[in-house]
Symmetry: C2
């Protein structure tokens, strides 16, 4: 984990750029950087480096980096794989501050490449020269006139608007493709980072840089992610948090959603990518928008680019056709937008202007009458736009020479004077070539125009949902507690001692050879208690007499269990006896268990026998923690039984959890209805569950040697009656226990 | 229900066409039909009709239909709504055989319009002149050179291929849009039917006509559906069945998937559209492909248009970029394609030609090396194409002047000589204008080219799945049994008598005022038994002595229930007593029930007391029947408890069910894993369930007065041990009981 943030200025504001392996052919990959630096007017010094040439494009060409007379901030490296290391070492010796390496043939190319890349990583660490790549397309920074990239020059065109959108990509191809597709829609990324194999700097470094950037330089950050490296997990988390706090939208495409995709991604980047569902939960948690693909990302960027953000989900559809109205109504509901009723006044006004056979509810169907009265379109829009029930307008109309004059100018004025987001699904009402200029005219005044009616509605719906969540719940700045902030009371080692229990390290010999330790139900529940998590009342006893006394205290219906951290599944070895009543039955049970365990072929070490109250039936929840290599502790929960086992109905959040996170993770469950009182049950005590999730999150962060925790079942009673952990199990990392 | 199929020849092969309300302005809606008939060279007689003109475009123009000298096969009606009826009546008097009515302002326009449309419907019924519309865009039949439509002339262009694809649309707008979008991709529909409000002829009539058409005239039928009218349900069902038997693919867009969409659709067509999930089940059952929207339909048509159908799901991805490979791998798995391993020989050959840092597994990543060696693309494709493990190839590459010469010609030869479906996700590798001709060249030799990588993979995956299912299971020609085919044994009335039970009609006074009858558990289960459906062993008794005898016969653990068709929820009135053991307890229970029921404020009529065996616990299934207004009896099943109640995990099929249908409806359940033996249970007796589903399907068809049936629970035991209905409930239509 790197705690010192790297200085990215050599990449963003270099005073001088050297191009190693520069080509005389300015259209070739190694020629493009020089060509584009000249084209866009980079104001700093440029040094082409190539022993074959004396000059390129009027610039003196140097045989090697050492021969350059002045200082070099940024080196662009396009030499072959076998020369790369030597060239980078020379750069480091020269005192170059940053290097962008295009070259392929490293970690993506098998073992030898992995070694070479590791050497490059060490070089960066030791020399302080930071490296982007290898195997990347490089960096483009339009505002600062930097083109340290072999991305095709065609990407450099005029933008329709001047929002500051940036793009960071773990795939060069995908980066260029996105750039290109966005450009086709008149959208241009100001900064573009292709990070390649991330030998040194990775996507999180640039994400962090942009997230903490001034607002006037960064509005939106788009990312293409194959997987975040373990070492960069913390930085990625904090960057996402920073962006949220500063209200910058991060839009993400994350591949590796399926097993096939994950396999392909890890062969591409040679990195383990972590569980996709953890990423997915984290994106939701930090209000990042995950687009399923480029087809959805572009519409999202277009809508955001218009600069009007949805104030809510209440949406009107106005269409010049019944079929369009129906399809858009379907898509709106599918993607979470509400087709609310208009105010009466709106409908009255629509009725006044539209033919009797038009539909004046929501969706509005103008009918083919607009073919003869094109002004009906604009008139209807201006009526609906004023309706206070409506947050967003989805317009659907054909455009061509026949109606454009009657529509465009008035629509422009209306649009520019309205705060409400609008999108137009627009079809050519003529030969495409004849309609195109009108569509471009509409686009030019800022109204996002689409030629499909699926992805654009996805984008509007997803954005509206995200904005609503952000408005509803502005997160406070949170800190994960550092070691020094921990309450001594919760210090594991001290606590163990106070319990008089053996340290897990002492139990090491008998635990799994894996180097991990389990903890017994009893010990685990003691720790849960410290965090205020309610557990069953229970006593660990060591004799029949103690068992009998426990029975008297605990009451009627009791469970008697063998306690040993060597046993994960107590029932399987006959270590659990249920429904024992009174002193005598519990004494008998004690004796029976001791005998059963003793008679096993390899009897485990018994820490004692647990006498435990048995609880009345309730909704059974499973709550757990798993440590993710990228995101750290992840809290999960789901309804017990078939919901988890058959339907895998589990929701996740990365610790630390906010109260809102805990609420949302419950709401996300398919089985949420069960909690709300479906099946003639009383509504469950969600408050109690939320408190427990928050406590588990705290425990998972503070106990940083905890690898896995399982509260199963957590019995949840009706509202106001609480929730209680009946059984618990944990797995701990051994080395960290040693440290404490 | 219409049993006589209408004669559609006046619409498809008219010898003469009259255009009522013809306009001199050939670019206006009422001018377009004449313009296009001339343009495409319609060989029959053309009669413009409009009192304002003497001639149009050199044709004599008639003041009214009566003045036309010869016979008229088809009238195209574009007069205003208030003149339409008079004009149609005149047409009918003249003996016109078919009319296409463009005019709006009928059922979609409220009450008055509904009445007017009903009058038109009656006119068609009485005169025998068949009508398409009103409120439609009309008919285009390219092969027969008919253009009875005001669809814009721009739709008429040259096709890239000559497959016979047709399109039937319940929305004019959507029809034109689809036509236009398909045309942009070089795909042209040969026949196009916009059916509008379906006052007389509807989508099912033309679907049936195309489904039973010769193979050389119809390859694929695309439909846009808002809802099938009740009266056309049977025809729609049989048309779908015919198409399946003749191996013609039907591709459907069905809107009204959501509540908002359904509301909008029914306001658009003024028809109740039936439950979307029944449509959805029926589409699957008949191997129709449902596209979520036009964005998915067009890629599907493009892939089908290439004429190579997937032999399986095993798919190779070959990409010139890692990012593209990963995204496509994700999408392939997401949409059900298998990214299988290549044969060893394939991988060996790929390794031989590709650079060491390329990925030679599936997906293949050619890397940026193709920028310098463009022939790598074709070479890799030709290696993978030969792999017998591979059914389909997904290619992903940039194209432009730099690589086109090295790629296109050899790719063309390979493609034309291969049976394997291929699709190309193709990006311009240059300014778009420079790359466009190359992309067109690829498209021109038949390889479907896409510029997105989501919908095209959906289309390939969905098609592969459909073809696999069709191949695996070729349905036999099936007949729903007619009245005469019914076995007398199952005749309800006779059966009732044999049971000595009162006829439901006698119970009418005491049953719901709704005009429907319930049937008691006992009677319902007797009927189930007739269909070979196992039910609990039970006796209906009328005295304590009979109860005691029943107890002796049935054994140990018994349920005792009050039987009355007036009571839907027995437990709620205390009408069920469980776990009674032996003569005495059952006698007591009898007395208790009689007393409890008698003491109710409004005691229902008791048919008797049911003594019933109680079964050991098992997997509980719910099986039912609901009568859909469009599709008739629909069989449903789902796992009892939360699966049905919370998750609505129910699957449906329209009766009659085939064995394959029954299997698939079980496999479709999210809870299918439970049957297969999840949660440490034994696998359930699926064979028994399938038999029961088939019997229920037969019952539902034969008992055509059954409105609703509920077998709940059906206890399913481990494999080989059968399944038994524990409780059953039915609702019957009163009038039909009268008839029998």
């Amino acid at each position: 984990m790197e705690h010192q943030k790297p200085d990215l200025r050599p990449f963003i504001q270099p005073q001088s750029i050297a191009i190693l392996g520069a080509s005389k052919h300015l259209g070739k990959p190694n020629g493009i950087p020089l060509f584009m630096l000249l084209e866009i007017g980079y104001p700093g010094k440029i040094y082409p480096v190539n022993p074959s040439y004396q000059e390129i494009a009027g610039y003196p060409c140097y045989p090697d980096i050492e021969s350059i007379p002045g200082e070099v901030d940024l080196a662009v490296v396009g030499v072959s794989a076998d020369q790369t290391l030597a060239v980078l070492e020379a750069c480091a010796r020269k005192g170059v501050k940053g290097a962008v390496v295009f070259t392929s043939g490293f970690a993506e190319a098998g073992e030898q490449g992995i070694d070479l890349q590791e050497t490059i990583h060490r070089l960066a660490q030791e020399s302080g020269m930071r490296i982007v790549g290898p195997n990347c397309v490089g960096i483009v920074h339009r505002q600062n006139k930097i083109w340290a990239s072999f991305a095709p020059p065609l990407l450099y065109r005029k933008a329709y608007f001047n929002k500051n959108f940036h793009f960071i990509s773990q795939s060069g191809f995908f980066g260029i493709l996105t750039y290109q597709m966005a450009a086709r829609e008149g959208l241009f990324f100001d900064q573009f980072y292709s990070v390649g194999n991330e030998a040194d700097l990775g996507l999180p470094h640039f994400l962090d840089c942009l997230a903490t950037d001034n607002h006037d330089r960064t509005d939106l950050i788009a990312c293409y992610i194959e997987g975040i490296k373990d070492k960069d997990g913390e930085l990625f988390k904090s960057a996402a948090e920073e962006a949220l706090l500063r209200d910058k939208l991060i839009a993400v495409i994350k591949v590796g959603q399926t097993a096939a995709g994950t396999r392909a991604a890890s062969s591409h980047t040679a990195a383990l990518t972590g569980a996709d569902r953890v990423y997915d939960a984290f994106f939701r948690q930090k209000r990042m928008i995950r687009a399923p693909g480029i087809e959805q990302l572009i519409p999202l960027l277009k809508i955001c680019g218009a600069g009007k953000y949805p104030a809510g989900k209440r949406t009107a559809v106005i269409s010049d056709s019944g079929g369009g109205a129906v399809m858009l109504a379907d898509k709106c509901q599918l993607y979470g937008l509400d087709l609310v009723r208009f105010q009466e006044e709106t409908e009255r006004q629509l009725k006044e202007i539209l033919p009797f056979f038009a539909a004046t509810g929501n969706p509005v169907d103008l009918t083919a009458q607009v073919m003869t009265e094109p002004e009906l379109l604009f008139k209807s829009i201006s009526i609906v736009e004023k309706d206070p029930n409506i947050d967003n307008l989805v317009l659907n109309f054909g455009i061509g020479p026949a109606n454009a004059p009657a529509v465009i100018q008035s629509l422009k004025e209306l649009y520019l004077n309205s705060d409400k987001p609008m999108i137009a699904v627009c079809w050519p009402w003529a030969e495409e070539e004849a309609a195109r200029p009108y569509i471009d005219e509409i686009r030019a005044f800022g109204l996002p125009v689409f030629h499909e009616l699926d992805d654009c509605i996805w984008a509007l719906g997803t954005l509206a949902d995200r904005m609503e969540k952000v408005r509803k719940y502005k997160p406070p700045r949170r800190f994960a507690p550092g070691k020094e902030q921990r309450n001594a009371q919760f210090h594991l080692e001290a606590y163990w001692r106070s319990l008089g229990l053996p340290r897990p390290s002492e139990a090491r010999e008998v635990s799994a050879q894996s180097g991990y330790n389990n903890m017994s139900e009893y010990a685990m529940k003691q720790i849960l208690s410290c965090y205020g998590i309610p557990v069953t009342r229970e006593f660990l006893v060591h004799s029949e007499a103690e068992a009998a006394r426990a029975a008297e205290t605990l009451g009627e219906n009791l469970a008697v269990k063998a306690v040993s951290r060597e046993v994960a599944h107590k029932t399987e070895i006959g270590g659990v006896l249920l429904h024992r009543k009174g002193r005598e039955e519990v004494k008998q049970a004690y004796a029976e268990l001791v005998k059963t365990i003793g008679a096993l072929e390899h009897p485990p070490h018994l820490e004692g026998i647990l006498v435990q109250e048995m609880l009345p039936p309730a909704t059974e929840l499973i709550v757990g923690v798993k440590r993710d290599p990228v995101f750290g502790p992840v809290v999960l929960c789901g309804l017990g039984g078939i919901f988890v086992e058959i339907l895998e109905d589990i929701s996740l959040r990365v610790a630390p959890l906010s109260r809102q996170d805990a609420e949302e993770m419950l709401q996300e469950l398919k089985s949420y209805k069960v909690f709300q009182g479906a099946r003639r049950q009383e509504p469950a005590d969600l408050e109690a569950v939320i408190e427990i999730l928050l406590s588990v999150s705290r425990l998972a962060l503070e106990m940083d040697n905890l690898l896995e925790l399982d509260l199963n079942p957590l019995m949840v009673y009706p509202r106001g009656q609480g929730a209680v952990v009946v059984d618990a199990w944990g797995r701990w990392q051994e080395d960290k226990n040693e440290e404490t």
